[in-house]
């Protein structure tokens, strides 16, 4: 009868040595008390960050030009959301993982049309205003080519946009209803009405903030505040949080890849980093079954430190 050879990285030797007293309930109770006291101490000493959420109202009042420029971007299709692709729209094919277009394959499941959802629908929801009503009628009655021409003409002068006496002014002609629409949306934003319109656009009850968050993220105001709080992607962003707190330090490896080549300059970095982390997680999961990898502990001999009393006894 043959016996299987002992594999040191797979099999464990049978232990027939001494046993010592062990009170598992006492150990667990002590651990909970000690950790509980440590948690209370840390919470008392350091608290937790709670930077107030920004609103479209605070953004448009703090920086009306940035807001109006973003609103124009939603109209002319140049914002991040307008050009995003799946799951919001079909404006872009999305990122590739080799031949795989995973986002495109998953499809548009959270439809967002920036012209309709961020500009026209909120303006339409406003109480009657003669100028705005006329502008919206003009917009809705025009052909797509005409709308595009107005927006294009307005966009050409947008770099010289000014804000004065509560009005956005752009030196441009043949812009149709666009100046009225941008000014009305800015006024709506500054009053707080746009926040409400974007949140409640889907009905009275909602817990979905996709649209206002996408709109806010399209501007530079949020990113500028985040930069001051060391939260940008180039500042190891996602694992950090406001203030001097540890944040999600366990995401360090995920965030690390974004800082180094080729990912730091890749247009497919998001899907590549996600795939790499998926692969590394799988390797970690399957360590016991991967020859070579499972031999590392035996070869580096750190276990001799862990069990030093046992080996010295």
């Amino acid at each position: 009868m043959s016996t299987k050879p002992f594999r040191p990285d797979v099999d464990a030797p049978k232990y027939e040595g001494k046993y010592t007293p062990y009170d598992i309930i006492r150990e667990g109770t002590i651990a909970i008390v000690v950790v509980g006291l440590l948690v209370i101490l840390l919470a008392t000493l350091f608290g937790s960050p709670d930077e107030r959420a920004i609103t479209i109202k605070t953004w448009s009042n703090a920086d009306p030009i940035d807001f109006a420029t973003t609103a124009l971007g939603e109209l002319n299709g140049t914002t991040i959301t307008a050009q995003y692709g799946a799951p919001y729209n079909t404006a872009a094919p999305g990122q590739n993982l080799g031949p795989l277009k995973l986002a495109q394959f998953a499809g548009v499941t959270i439809p967002v049309n920036t012209v309709r959802d961020f500009v026209i629908a909120p303006l339409t929801s406003q109480p009657y205003n003669k100028n705005l009503s006329a502008a919206l009628s003009q917009w809705k009655g025009a052909s797509a080519a005409q709308q595009s021409s107005w927006v294009s003409n307005y966009t050409k002068g947008a770099s010289k946009m000014t804000w004065s006496n509560g009005t956005i002014t752009v030196p441009a002609t043949n812009t149709g209803p666009v100046p009225t629409m941008i000014n009305s949306l800015t006024a709506m934003a500054r009053s707080g009405a746009l926040d409400q319109a974007l949140v409640t656009g889907g009905g009275f009850y909602t817990t979905n903030y996709t649209k206002p968050l996408l709109f806010v993220a399209d501007g530079t105001y949020l990113a500028n505040l985040a930069q001051k709080q060391h939260l940008l992607g180039s500042q190891w962003g996602m694992m950090n949080e406001t203030g001097s707190y540890p944040g999600q330090a366990w995401l360090w490896l995920y965030t690390f890849w974004y800082q180094v080549s080729p990912f730091s300059s890749s247009s497919n970095a998001d899907v590549q980093v996600s795939a790499l982390m998926g692969l590394l997680s799988l390797l970690l999961l399957l360590v016991p079954f991967i020859p070579g990898l499972r031999s590392i502990p035996r070869k580096v001999k750190i276990y001799r430190l862990i069990w030093r009393e046992y080996y010295h006894s």
Binding site: R52, N208, L213
Partner: protein, 208 residues
Amino acid sequence: MSTAEIERQWTTRLRKRVAGHLPPEKLLPDTQPAYVSSWIYVFGVTTIAALTMVILSGIILAIRGPQWWHSSSIGHFINSTHLWSVEIFFFAMIVHLWGKFFMAAWRGGRSLTWVTGVVTFLASVGTAFTGYVSQTNFDSQWISTQAKDGINATGVGSIFNVLNLGQMLMWHIVLLPLAAVLLTTIHVLLVRVKGVVPPFEDEKGATK
């Protein structure tokens, strides 16, 4: 009912199977092998203790709702205990994980214990992440709008919308904690069934 009929019952079979694999002296042991003598062993129970604190503080936050802690000093303190118990939880869990790696703790038929541990870690990362995007403050605005790109690029964003507060909160307080606690329970029971991995046979020779 005959004895044979009782023996065939699913309940009887399950009870015997459980009792066979996990008799009371294994589930609640009063002795342990002498080699279980290192500070590294503290981090397993510390992880469970921190998880207990995470759940307790989370339950208190859940009772008053997701925005209570912005306007109440008591709520803010409870949120702080939630944050710091999460930080301790991850610190202890990662030290525990690497400790077990360097012990090659999967040896001797313990590979499933290792696998459930790693899956618990991954589920915990997801639980913490959904918590960060459910804070209803500037951090959640920024983290969610940044994280959406990584998740959307994989196609997962089509069903897992990090900008949807209601969805993220449900994942954070129901689905992922359920998974993490269930996996932790299975992991701990596997440790009790299989015992703590013995040291390598070294130049000392076969273990005594």
